[in-house]
């Protein structure tokens, strides 16, 4: 059984917050379809960075980093896809 410390819990809470934070943005973006105030460059760089964070978390065996960055990538990727699909329309 894996050990579980206060520090792990803190990392998990931190990751839960930064991951869950994208849910209202995804809901808003999918509902309105509007992404004019959202920066394309931000979401391109952010998704790339989150993918690298995941690899980093695996390499240092910090599982809160891995567990939270994988769903973040899915959520942020959704926003990026909507933004990309709006190119030339906004």
């Amino acid at each position: 059984m894996a050990s579980f410390s206060f520090v792990d819990a803190l990392g998990l809470i931190a990751g839960a917050l930064t991951t869950v934070s994208f849910v209202p943005q995804v809901v808003k973006t999918l509902r309105t379809g509007h992404t004019r105030d959202i920066s394309l460059v931000m979401w391109l760089l952010f998704c790339t960075g989150v993918a690298l964070w995941t690899i980093y978390g695996v390499l240092i065996a910090a599982w809160p980093i891995v567990l939270t960055n994988v769903p973040t990538l899915g959520l942020a990727g959704t926003i990026l896809v909507v933004k990309l699909s709006n190119r030339g329309k906004e």
Copy 2:
């Protein structure tokens, strides 16, 4: 002198990307002043989470986490402040 590994470098690149990603969003937000397509709840949760990531990074002595989350908090906090100042106007 602190040791520096490939893994540290990867974490630093990951962090640099996720941190720098907020710069174009801050520029866009400050230039236009428009935050209608941006979710208030996202940025509230995100800023709280980034603050906790910083503490987590200190506790596990993963300095790439600390070094990259501190400026992220400043950038994301700027977007949050503009969004909050636009409440009731958009």
